[in-house]
């Protein structure tokens, strides 16, 4: 049993270093945008760009997925949006979307 535990705890310096590099790269991404904006001079143009950014990030994540991810993804995304649009309840919209995609995938779409 203790051997089993030791097996699970084992690692190598190479693997540790790789994990630390991955973590550093990720933290750099988390900080990078905030740090960059600290150092860019504010302007109306930059403010408009940042204002357009949250929606653009969402669209760029989701639209390609909806287009290429098959009918189940597309229908589920549309259902979730419609429920949110009509009822303005985010949790309900999430549940509606998840139920839709689960059912459609079960049915083989």
């Amino acid at each position: 049993m203790s051997d089993l535990l030791l097996d699970r705890l084992e690692t190598s310096s190479g693997a540790l270093l790789a994990l630390l590099c991955m973590a550093a790269a990720t933290y750099l991404c988390r900080l990078g945008g905030v740090w960059l904006m600290d150092h860019l001079p504010p302007s109306p143009r930059l403010r408009r760009a940042l204002g357009a950014l949250p929606g653009s990030i969402i669209i760029s994540t989701v639209v390609p997925l909806g287009v290429m991810g098959g009918p189940a993804s597309l229908i589920a995304l549309v259902v979730a949006m419609l429920v949110m649009f009509k009822l303005r309840r985010d949790v309900l919209a999430l549940v509606a979307g998840m139920v839709t995609v689960a059912l459609l995938r079960r049915m083989g779409f």
């Binding site: 540790l16 991404c29 900080l31 960059l36 950014l53 990030i57 549940v95 979307g97």
Partner: protein, 266 residues
């Protein structure tokens, strides 16, 4: 010079007015930071609850994948705790080695960076709020920054909320759950369902589109979204990997910068 309107702690800026989120300087250079309160912390956790089932299945799927790929349980937990980014962790499994060379370490680092590059833009988009947090809270909470608490924070801030505790609370809960579920995922391995079967891979995309609705501020303001949609589809068809998110989002931001100032409420 016309004064931008400063939102008070609980009242949003009236529509059409320029909000002023810069730190308040009160005569002497004393900066007043966004509050971080326990009620905010708990609210952040509560707002995160509906997202947890999906995130738990994802974290468990990473654990199962890690076991399958030959990582030790310790390494899997380290990955979840240190990297704490689902898509990047899953992609990194494909590049995992038994023996590490300089080249393979560099390769996995670059791929992780590429998958997470979207966070650079997400951070920039929320900069107006991050910059009001005290440095300590800011650098700590950014470690816990993920898609899920980003979107919650965008929504909360847009609705006029300013308690930075919600970002911290949401991040702490997400991190704890993510690290913990790695363990049963690793140990149960094959028993963990494929996230695709139940559509768990769609949790974040669905949350994203749902949150898009309250961001709608009229057709003119949504023009950059159209640009982002077209560019991201084109890039996805042309280039492998996750570049379409960053390129599409940047295209939308540039379109926003080039547009004329919005004429009051559309």
């Amino acid at each position: 010079m016309s004064e931008p309107v400063r939102p008070s702690e609980h009242s949003p800026v009236p529509e059409g007015q320029t909000p002023d989120y810069s730190p308040v300087t009160v005569y002497s250079p004393v900066t007043v930071y966004s509050p971080v309160t326990w009620p905010g912390f708990w609210l952040g956790m509560r707002l995160t609850l509906p997202l947890l089932p999906g995130i738990m299945v994802f974290g468990a799927a990473f654990g199962a994948g890690a076991a399958h790929k030959g990582l030790s349980l310790f390494e899997a937990i380290l990955s979840s705790g240190l990297v704490f980014a689902g898509a990047a962790q899953l992609v990194s499994l494909a590049l995992w080695q038994d023996h590490w060379s300089f080249g393979s370490t560099l390769a996995i680092t670059l791929v992780v960076f590429a998958v997470n590059a979207r966070m650079i833009l997400m951070g920039a988009a929320l900069h107006h709020w991050f910059k009001t947090a005290s440095p300590m809270w800011r650098w700590f909470s950014l470690y816990l920054f993920t898609d899920a608490n980003w979107i919650l924070a965008v929504r909360y801030h847009q609705d006029g909320g300013r308690d930075y505790g919600i970002f911290v609370g949401s991040g702490v809960l997400l991190w704890l759950v993510w690290v913990i579920v790695t363990v049963p995922g690793y140990l149960l391995g094959a028993l963990v369902p494929d996230p695709k079967t139940w559509g768990i891979d769609l949790v974040m995309p669905i949350i994203f589109v749902v949150m898009l609705i309250p961001l709608w501020k009229g057709k003119q303001a949504a023009l950059p979204w159209l640009v982002a949609a077209v560019v991201s589809i084109l890039v996805m068809k042309a280039v492998e990997g996750y570049a379409f998110i960053v390129v599409g989002a940047l295209a939308g931001a540039i379109a926003g910068a080039l547009m004329p100032e919005a004429q009051s409420d559309v």
